[in-house]
Subunit: 459 residues, 2 copies
């Protein structure tokens, strides 16, 4: 299908949607071709459609099914693995205008359209005296639909789990245009297959998520924050294991020396530039339990050689350190182009992973800075390269693959929370094996026999 | 296929398994025909096979696939919805001899074979200083494999979630005999479709679960227990909503007057026989938070007319009331045969559900006692009937269906934690609708095209 022959049919689709909803203006469409993976091979979609309602999504999918036009679903476009990169000749459905939300305090649930930012869901829950825990670092700019599509995580997961743990129900538009309601606003439901959970993390390849029912919790108690610098990565990793052996921290984040310095260049908040690694831990226990947890963390940090342990009950002080950790990616982006990894390993393998990443950096002569949700073994190695230097770019790409190979070899995953997308697809078979790939394809083909949804992702 | 022609081929299967593993002795096989649903129409399996290893399960499934013999998987046979009832001519695989377990404290996981009792997994976790939360009332006699197959719940779910929230990885034998490993011992994993979660709650229709990796938590803090009697069901339901509006109890259980009296007949522990309903709540908060939660519960109970509120920090006293609640089903079983319901509704609909159940009991002239995991809206109406009285039995069956119809009408589920099995299959389409039934069938057919696994369940 070429643009020339396709345009008339898009016009036909446009007539069954509100005026102006089907956008073909190349300047506007061009802004939606790439996501945060900045894939230079991103295609050019036939049209960009920003529906408001499930009905409108169904209209688009039915038209696409009839004309065998692929559909790329995009939320806020913050995918780091190319999960919402455009494909030539596809229709791109962007959910950014699907922004309805209602909170039900009696069932402690939020029913939301996919286009809201994670931060907006959090804020609405907070306004109702409730809490939506999952907190990707990009929470202010990533969509809740994308969070569900990738089973996104964040900083609180070490204690509070990931997105799927909070999804009670979904409305999904299938490849033939039907909208189905899966699950309900009940904490317990064993009726039929767990289809809701199947669609969480399905990265747009099985259907389009048009409504999400989320479980909310009572507000998180105020957290105490404990911060320390360590001489090297191994000491910090040993401290991580010492903490998690005794308690469940509400947060346990790691930055290596490169990240510390990049953040300090940017924020000038007095981080120890000489430290080889830094940990930021939080306890949200209440009363004497809070003091006991802070004591466990402090003891573990000190026992593993922390020069100075800083502990605070002050929320603003604690948030400053969390923000510093979140700042690592943007701060490192100022030093070069980044390839962002998302590899995870069983916790005891964390030091081996980080040491192995340093060896890969040496071998490929690139800088790799490691930041991590250390408490759950999920790391974000950031491969820094000069995009003008073709050889270095090439070596960075080799390192990108080598880090995933390393994680797989350690019994880990190529993606803890970002999804496979297009960037990591080639490594998925190595992680899960041919039988699971075949099972995946069997389900994909059963639900989307014409391969309409997000072609090139995952499979 | 009849027994006469089939027996020789079972002999062939027997030769590829350890001696004596294929059992055809009718006396032994007969003990495995029914589960706790006591379906009088249970069939007679061709053979009973109690494998020790995944390999042996694969051998059986390959033979069954070749000969188109259906496979019923049975754990401890405690299904209340006929999920493991035998079918004529099927091979029954019972997992009771698959009893290996290892705990990994570093990753805080348990890797278990399916045949262990829930209580054994809990005990092994406790011995390692950890906690496996899900706690079906049958925890001492139900298998962990069955828990996963039904996405079982229990008393702690109101705060700690259900089985699926604790399943990180599965090993599953597929319909062609391949064994696949899904997920891993990582808290976060976004690589590929959420196949692990799809198999949780799949009731043996997609594959046979041969190994489970469970997430464990640090030990539960000691719980305080608050108990009160109420004049009637509506007052108790109002108290439930008042509690959950302010906090997340670790347990919030309900018994109606019939259940109270049946338990008191049995235990003679001094329960208030005049009460129309009783609530048993627990808080496992720590330090001052514990006292604050007990205060919230006590205030809510008193505000809704509780005559006397009994609160205790004593674990043994608390456990006595939990045990009383667990005793309700066996105590009522002494008064007649039971049809056990498992309907759930969004929490605000709880009083409407329980009132409606009373109306159904009146209309059908049967006793229906309601016990409930009230904090999450999951009720177990127990329909008591005299099995010798054919007319009453018939009216009990009508009531059984009417209760499910009522729950569906209230936006609820026909099963919160027991599964659909064979008994509730006819109501599933009314709950989820034809599109979800079709989606379910599409996935079933994709994974098990010959319909080998647990025919007659769910679909």
């Amino acid at each position: 299908m070429t643009h020339v022959t396709a345009t008339p049919t898009v016009t036909a689709l446009a007539s069954s949607l509100p005026p102006g909803m089907v956008v073909t203006d190349p300047d506007i469409v061009g802004g939606y071709r790439q996501d945060r993976a900045f894939d230079p091979q991103a295609g050019t979609p036939l049209a960009l459609i920003r529906p408001h309602t499930t009905d409108q999504v169904q209209t688009v999918v039915r038209w696409c099914a009839t004309h065998r036009v692929p559909v790329i679903t995009r939320g806020a476009g913050t995918s780091l693995s190319g999960g919402s990169t455009a494909v030539d000749g596809a229709v791109m459905i962007c959910t950014e205008k699907m922004r309805e939300l209602r909170i039900d305090t009696a069932t402690r649930t939020a029913v939301v359209q996919p286009g809201l930012f994670n931060s907006e869901v959090k804020a609405a829950a907070a306004a109702a005296g409730l809490w939506y825990p999952p907190d990707p670092s990009s929470f202010e700019i990533c969509s809740i639909g994308g969070n569900v599509a990738t089973n996104a995580g964040g900083l609180c997961c070490v204690k509070y789990g990931v997105t799927t743990d909070y999804v009670l129900a979904l409305e999904v538009v299938l490849a033939d245009g039907r909208a189905v309601a899966l699950g309900g606003n009940r904490l317990k439901d064993s009726a039929g297959l767990s289809l809701t959970k199947l669609f969480v993390g399905s990265e747009g390849v099985l259907g389009i998520i048009t409504e999400v029912t989320l479980r909310l919790l009572p507000p998180q108690p105020p957290a105490a924050t404990v911060v320390a610098g360590f001489a090297d990565v191994d000491a910090a990793c040993a401290a991580v294991l010492a903490v998690t052996a005794e308690m469940r921290p509400a947060m346990l984040e790691f930055m290596d020396g490169v990240a510390i310095n990049a953040v300090e260049d940017h924020l000038r908040m007095g981080l120890d530039r000489t430290a080889g690694a830094m940990l930021v831990a939080q306890s949200d226990a209440v009363g004497p339990a809070a003091a006991a947890e802070v004591e466990i963390i402090t003891r573990a940090f000190t026992a593993h050689g922390a020069a100075e342990v800083f502990a605070t009950d002050d929320a603003a002080e604690g948030e400053a350190f969390t923000a510093a950790r979140r700042m690592a990616i943007p701060a490192l982006e100022r030093t070069g182009s980044l390839l962002l990894e998302d590899v995870g390993v069983p916790l005891p393998a964390l030091p081996t992973l980080i040491d192995g990443i340093a060896a890969i950096a040496d071998r490929q002569r690139v800088t790799i800075s490691v930041i991590a949700h250390a408490g759950d073994g999920n790391t974000h190695p950031l491969i820094v390269f000069d995009p003008e230097d073709a050889d270095e770019h090439q070596r960075a790409e080799v390192a990108f693959g080598a880090v995933m190979d390393l994680a797989i070899g350690l019994g880990g995953t190529i993606t803890g929370e970002h999804g496979v997308g297009r960037l990591k697809k080639a490594w998925l078979p190595d992680q899960v094996g041919p039988d699971v790939m075949e099972l995946t394809a069997v389900i994909k083909n059963a639900l989307d026999p014409d391969g309409l949804f997000n072609p090139g992702v995952m499979l």
